[in-house]
């Protein structure tokens, strides 16, 4: 069984980004991200209708980290750490099988600039090298071409396509699962 500990919260940095813990100070940005139709177009989770709804998402993420059940980083630019533009995390960890499910979203204004790629690289590095996961999966709406491209660019492979397995707003939708296996440990010659 994996021994996972998210306390103290692991802060990650990349050339442009700061990946830090979310707090209630992020509420206005989180409300936007979880209510903006363009941002959550392919994310079948209840939209935030009020600040309370958005606060519940923040609490869910902080509780998960406190209980070592999942980890979600708020994404901000290095030089503007107080303004979050998205989030990325492993929201479901299957400790028994050293596996986790990844999820992310990004403000539409910042899409198409390689930002999520940068965040994903850091998150995957943390997952394989610090959490010691063996595999990671991402469940996506098959129509979400940008997300699928990102996964494929990072070596994820489509391992499943489930027909009508997801009920959302009165209809059954298909879902695709992409997976990535931990890079083989380099052999010392």
């Amino acid at each position: 069984m994996l021994n996972i500990n998210f306390t103290p919260f692991p802060i990650l940095t990349t050339s442009r980004l700061l990946l830090r813990q979310m707090t209630m100070a992020d509420l206005p940005e989180m409300f936007f991200l979880r209510s903006d139709e363009e941002t959550v177009k392919y994310i079948s989770r209840p939209r935030a209708k009020t600040y309370e709804d958005a606060a519940r998402y923040i609490t869910m993420f902080t509780d998960a980290a406190a209980n070592n059940e999942g980890i979600t980083w708020a994404i901000a630019f290095n030089d503007k750490p107080e303004t979050i533009i998205g989030h990325i995390g492993f929201w479901r960890i299957i400790k028994e099988h050293h596996r986790a499910e990844i999820g992310y979203l990004l403000h539409p204004q910042h899409q198409g600039k390689g930002i999520m790629q940068e965040a994903l690289t850091a998150a995957l590095d943390y997952a394989f090298n610090s959490m010691h996961l063996h595999t990671i999966e991402g469940g996506v709406n098959p129509a979400n071409a940008a997300s699928i491209k990102l996964l494929e660019r990072n070596g994820f492979v489509r391992e499943a396509y489930f027909k009508e397995d997801f009920f959302w707003e009165g209809e059954y939708h298909d879902s695709a699962i992409y997976s990535l296996i931990a890079p083989k440990a380099k052999k010392v010659l």
Binding site: T135, E137, A160, Y161, K163, D165, Y172
Partner: protein, 153 residues
């Protein structure tokens, strides 16, 4: 059944070490029914009340009208189409009484007998996961088969 290697060969679940473990397992199955979280049927021949196997919807995803089916049987009864017969009745119950929209089954890709039972009942292979199941120190592959509810006329 749950200690027999022929039965458990492809099932990555802990083997019971004692009768107490089995009683706890039976209790767990009964509790799931009482809590409406899953349903397990004991299988017998019509004219012999002795348990020959069990079949269940052991994981309900109520939000998506979906459930996972699982089964096992004593090896004395293998190869006679008995599990197929049971599965057919269970699927009928799942779709018509529980109102499920889809059913999935997860198996070891090496478990040919089980995969054949699924295919015979119309299941299609929708997923093949590499190394997603850690069991006794090794990462094993799994396959996922699914079946949609028959379209209503």
């Amino acid at each position: 059944m749950r200690t027999d290697d022929r039965v458990m060969k492809y099932i990555g679940r802990p083997r019971p070490n004692s009768i107490e473990d089995i009683l706890a397992f039976i209790e767990k199955m009964r509790k799931m029914v009482a809590d409406n979280e899953g349903v397990t049927w004991a299988m017998t021949l019509k004219d012999d009340p002795k348990l020959m196997g069990h079949i269940s919807f052991h994981r309900l995803i109520k939000e998506h009208d979906r459930a996972e089916v699982g089964y096992m049987m004593h090896p004395d009864f293998y190869g006679k189409g008995i599990m197929s017969e049971a599965l057919s009745a269970v699927l009928h119950y799942g779709f018509n009484t529980m109102g499920l929209h889809s059913v999935e089954a997860i198996a070891s890709p090496l478990n040919n007998a089980s995969l054949k039972i699924l295919e015979r009942n119309g299941f299609a292979r929708e997923g093949y996961f590499k190394e997603n199941f850690l069991w006794e120190g090794q990462y094993l592959d799994s396959v996922v088969y699914s079946l949609l509810a028959p379209k209503k006329n």
